[in-house]
C-alpha cells in the first residue's frame, strides 16, 4: 500500500463532474507534480487530498487512514499534512514568528516562549528568512510571504506537503527563491504533491509527473520519459503550448 492512495476518485460541483475517476499512488519521498490546463481538476484533486473538498465516490487514504471517513479525526490528520496555498494565506495580524508558532503551541507540540521561538528560527533558516522573524506579512514581498507560508507548514513537522500553484501569484523575479526552497525540501526527502505550471521544476525535480485533462489522469510517469515521448495528443498539445 502506498503512502498516499488515491483510488477512483469522483467529484462533482452541483451537476458538473470535475473529477472523473482519478487514481494516483504516491510513495514516501516521492515528488509528484500534477500538470494540466486550467479546469482539468488539478487543484480540486489537491484540495480533496487533505479533506478541504468532499468527494462523491472513490477513496483517498493517507498512510492507510481514509480522509473522507466520518470516523477519521480530520483535524489530527491535518497536523501531518501541510498545504501551501497560491495566495499564501498568512495571518495578517500576527508576526512571522506567531504565524509559524501558532499551531504548534496550540496543538502542544511545543511550549510557548523560548522553545517556540527556537522552532520558528529553525524553520525560517530552512527557507532563508531568519531575519524576518518579527516582521508582519504585509511588510514582506510575495516571495518572502510564500517562503514563510512554507516554513509555517514545516513547523508542524508534516509527513506530506501539498503545493497548490504556489508560484502562480508571484512576480516572475520572485518565483526562483520559492522554487529553490521547494527543491531543498525535495532533496531532504519530503513527500510532496504539487500542482504547478512551472515546467522546468516538473522536469528537473519531480520523480513522477501526472498529466490531467478534463478530470481524468491521461498519463503518468517519470518526467524524462513523459516529456520526451508523450503518448496522448492532449499531452503533446499541452507540452507544445507551454514552451
Amino acid at each position: 500500500m502506498s503512502f498516499v492512495d488515491i483510488r477512483n476518485v469522483r467529484k462533482s460541483f452541483g451537476d458538473t463532474e470535475v473529477l472523473k475517476g482519478v487514481t494516483i499512488n504516491v510513495e514516501k519521498g516521492e515528488i509528484v507534480t500534477i500538470i494540466g490546463r486550467s479546469g482539468s481538476g488539478k487543484s480540486t484533486l489537491l484540495r480533496c487530498i487533505n479533506g478541504l473538498e468532499a468527494i462523491n465516490d472513490g477513496e483517498i487514504r493517507i498512510n492507510g487512514e481514509l480522509v473522507h471517513d466520518k470516523a477519521t479525526d480530520l483535524r489530527h490528520l491535518r497536523e501531518k499534512v501541510g498545504i501551501v496555498f497560491q495566495q499564501f494565506n498568512l495571518f495578517p495580524h500576527m508576526t512571522v514568528e506567531r504565524n509559524i508558532t501558532l499551531a504548534p503551541t496550540l496543538t502542544k507540540r511545543v511550549q510557548k516562549g523560548e522553545a517556540a521561538r527556537k522552532l520558528a528560527l529553525d524553520v525560517l533558516s530552512r527557507v532563508g528568512l531568519e531575519q524576518k522573524i518579527d516582521a508582519y506579512p504585509e511588510q514582506l514581498s510575495g516571495g518572502q510571504q510564500q517562503r514563510v507560508a512554507i516554513a509555517r507548514c514545516l513547523a508542524m513537522g508534516p509527513e506530506l506537503m501539498l503545493f497548490d500553484e504556489v508560484t502562480s501569484a508571484l512576480d516572475p523575479e520572485l518565483v526562483g527563491e520559492v522554487l529553490k526552497v521547494m527543491e531543498d525540501l525535495a532533496r531532504q526527502g519530503m513527500t510532496m504533491i504539487l500542482v504547478t505550471h512551472e515546467m522546468n521544476f516538473a522536469r528537473n525535480v519531480a520523480s513522477k509527473i501526472v498529466f490531467m485533462h478534463a478530470g481524468k489522469v491521461h498519463e503518468q510517469g517519470a518526467p524524462a520519459e513523459l516529456f520526451a515521448n508523450p503518448a496522448t495528443s492532449e499531452l503533446k498539445n499541452f507540452i507544445s503550448s507551454t514552451k
Binding site: 494565506n89 498568512l90 496543538t107 504585509e138
Partner: protein
C-alpha cells in the same frame, strides 16, 4: 438678551448624577447589546428557518421604528404583561434591545469580512473550530468593524437622552428638572448639550487610543 448661567451652579450635584446615570445606561446597553448582537450574528447562519426568521424580524422591527416608541412600549406596555419596570431598568432594556439589533448587523459583516481562505489556512494547520475563531477570525474582524461599533456606541450615548421621556434620571431629565426650578431654559439646555459634546469627544479619544493599542499590525493602504 438676558442670559444667566450662574443659577445653574447650585445644581452641580444633580448634573453630576445625571452624567453618571447616562454613562451607566450607555455601558449597560453597550455590553448587553453586544452580547445580544454576537448571539444574533452567530445564530444568523442557523439551519433552522424559524431561528433565522426570528432574528431577521427582531432586527428589522428595531431598525424601522423610532427608539422613542420602543422605549414607550417597554415602559408603558410591559406592566400589562405583569412586568412593571422602573424607568431606569425599562430604559436599559429598551436601549439594549436597540443596540442589539444594530450590532447583529455589525457583527455579521465582521464575520463575513474574513476571507474563507484564512479559515481554511487555520483548519489546515490542525486548529479546532474554536481556535480558528479565537486566533484567526476574532482580531481582524474586530478591527474591520471597529469604526462602526465605535459610532454605534456613541449613538447609544446620545440616544440615552430619550430615557428622559420615561423619567429615567439621566442627564437630559436632569436638564428638565433644573429648567423647571430656574426657568433658565436656554442656558440649561445649552450647558447640557455642551456636556454631551464633551462626553462624546472623550469617548472618541478613548476609542482612538484603544484602536492604536489593540490593532498594531500594518495593513494595505
Amino acid at each position: 438678551m438676558n442670559l444667566n448661567f450662574n443659577q445653574l451652579w447650585r445644581y452641580q450635584d444633580d448634573f453630576l448624577h445625571g452624567i453618571q446615570t447616562t454613562l451607566l445606561l450607555t455601558l449597560i446597553a453597550t455590553v448587553a447589546g453586544m452580547l445580544i448582537g454576537l448571539a444574533g450574528a452567530l445564530l444568523s447562519d442557523s439551519r433552522q428557518p424559524a431561528v433565522r426568521l426570528a432574528i431577521r424580524s427582531y432586527v428589522e422591527v428595531i431598525r424601522n421604528t423610532p427608539a422613542l416608541i420602543q422605549i414607550f412600549l417597554i415602559f408603558f406596555v410591559l406592566p400589562y404583561a405583569g412586568l412593571r419596570l422602573p424607568p431606569f431598568q425599562a430604559a436599559s432594556v429598551a436601549l439594549s434591545l436597540y443596540m442589539g439589533a444594530y450590532t447583529v448587523e455589525i457583527f455579521r459583516s465582521g464575520l463575513a469580512s474574513i476571507p474563507k481562505s484564512q479559515i481554511e489556512a487555520g483548519q489546515c494547520l490542525g486548529l479546532t473550530r474554536f481556535q480558528v475563531f479565537r486566533y484567526v477570525i476574532l482580531l481582524p474582524a474586530l478591527r474591520n468593524i471597529y469604526p462602526s461599533l465605535a459610532s454605534q456606541i456613541i449613538l447609544i450615548l446620545l440616544g440615552s437622552s430619550l430615557a428622559s421621556q420615561v423619567s429615567a434620571d439621566e442627564l437630559f431629565h436632569t436638564a428638565a428638572f433644573v429648567e423647571s426650578r430656574t426657568y433658565r431654559s436656554f442656558e440649561v439646555y445649552a450647558v447640557v448639550c455642551a456636556i454631551y459634546f464633551i462626553m462624546v469627544l472623550s469617548l472618541r479619544l478613548i476609542f482612538a487610543g484603544v484602536e492604536r493599542i489593540a490593532f498594531r499590525w500594518p495593513t494595505r493602504r
